[in-house]
């Protein structure tokens, strides 16, 4: 008997680290991404404050240059615009890093769309870094005007990525809640309860069917939204799914309220 208890304890001790180590990499990876997001967001805020300050300074310098039109005021304006352009690139680089990390951390996003968004984020980070180098080396009026022209090519790409990534994150969150709700709906199916009186059981089945109908509509709407997002990426047009997103959100809230009602009535 003692031997049996001892061997069971030994087995438990041997296997417990295996279970812990098998589950921990995913959790620790997720936690490290969350920590990184917080860190990047902090430095992003600092860079944004610095950018605002430099921009205010540039507006004054530009006003002086337009008013005085002297070489000295031009030199100040060139130096100031260069500083602001560089800080703006830095802010946008941090913003791209936030997008990348948020996408990596998010669940529920279609893998194909996620990969495309991440690739575009990486490409833009590389292009903005190259642009920042050009800005830092632009020392005269012609050069700063040239880097401002170059930025016009990057500008639509980053605004497009921003709205695309936002849409992915929004719908990804709704999709995750839908998936988890689906598990709950299955777990609360009254057909699995055998000790229920038939009158009460029929009532519960009707209530449960109502939730299932809502879930079917939600599934259809979510698929439609994913298709819309995909189309908007291909056509480079912003997706018009705000109304549908709001409807999905309301339906999910309704499903959870119904589930709560059913569970409280158990």
């Amino acid at each position: 008997m003692k031997k049996l208890v001892f061997s069971l304890l030994v087995l438990l001790l041997l296997f417990s680290p295996v279970v812990v180590t098998a589950a921990s990499p995913i959790i620790s990876q997720k936690e490290s991404i969350i920590d990184e997001i917080a860190e990047v967001r902090r430095s992003y805020k600092g860079q944004l404050a610095e950018y605002r300050q430099a921009n205010d300074q540039f507006i004054i310098a530009k006003g002086q240059y337009e008013k005085l039109n002297t070489l000295a005021s031009l030199e100040v304006a060139v130096q100031d615009v260069r500083k602001v352009l560089s800080l703006r690139d830095q802010v946008l680089l941090s913003y791209l890093k936030i997008i990348e990390l948020e996408l990596l951390e998010a669940d529920g996003i279609n893998l194909e769309e996620k990969t495309i968004a991440l690739e575009e984020t990486k490409d833009l980070q590389r292009d903005f870094l190259a642009h920042k180098d050009l800005v830092d080396n632009a020392i005269d009026r012609v050069a700063v005007n040239q880097v401002a022209d170059d930025f016009e090519l990057l500008s639509p790409r980053i605004t497009s990525l921003s709205s695309y990534a936002s849409a992915l994150l929004r719908v990804g969150k709704l999709q995750t809640i839908y998936d988890q709700s689906l598990t709950l709906v299955e777990a609360t199916d009254p057909r699995n309860l055998t000790d229920e009186p038939s009158l009460k059981l029929n009532e519960k089945i009707r209530a449960h069917n109502e939730i299932k109908n809502l879930m079917t509509t939600l599934d259809f709407n979510l698929n439609f939204v994913w298709d819309e997002i995909k189309d908007s990426r291909i056509t480079q047009q912003p997706s018009e799914t705000n109304k549908l997103n709001a409807s999905i959100y309301a339906s999910l809230a309704q499903v959870l309220a119904f589930l709560e009602e059913i569970l409280l009535d158990k």
């Binding site: 946008l92 913003y95 605004t159 969150k173 609360t188 999905i248 709560e260 569970l263």
Partner: protein
């Protein structure tokens, strides 16, 4: 007929029967049938104790199950009624509340990555017309 013709003159005559008597009562021979009886009684005792412990254990289980079936109703911070089993929230109901909180965070009208408030048309001179 036994011959009593001991030639040892140093031994007292009365000593002989006593020595013989002691030798016969010093190590009483235990009958072999009595030993298994003791072993059996030990086993019976262990069996009885084990049986009593088993009954106590079963009774405890029944008691715990009976106690767990008594549901308590508590009200949460938001005024919602939460049905609990022995003071613990129903895991499924708890799951629903966690999802409801997640849903609040996932409000599609909120943007977690708003575009930075920077001037995207920033430049020193106006763009040349092409």
């Amino acid at each position: 007929m036994i011959d009593n013709n001991d030639s040892n003159q140093t031994q007292f005559a009365s000593q002989e029967p006593i020595m013989e008597g002691l030798a016969s009562y010093a190590d009483p021979v235990i009958p072999q049938e009595t030993q298994p009886k003791k072993k059996n009684s030990k086993l019976i005792l262990i069996g009885i104790i084990g049986f009593v412990l088993l009954i106590v254990f079963v009774l405890l289980l029944i008691l715990i199950k009976a106690m767990s079936s008594t549901k308590k109703v508590v009200v949460d911070d938001n005024g919602n009624i939460i049905e609990t089993i022995n003071g613990e929230i129903d895991p499924l109901l708890n799951e629903v509340y966690i999802l409801a909180e997640d849903l609040e965070e996932g409000d599609p009208s909120l943007n977690t990555i708003p575009f930075p408030p920077v001037d995207m048309e920033l430049r020193l001179d106006p763009p040349r017309r092409k």
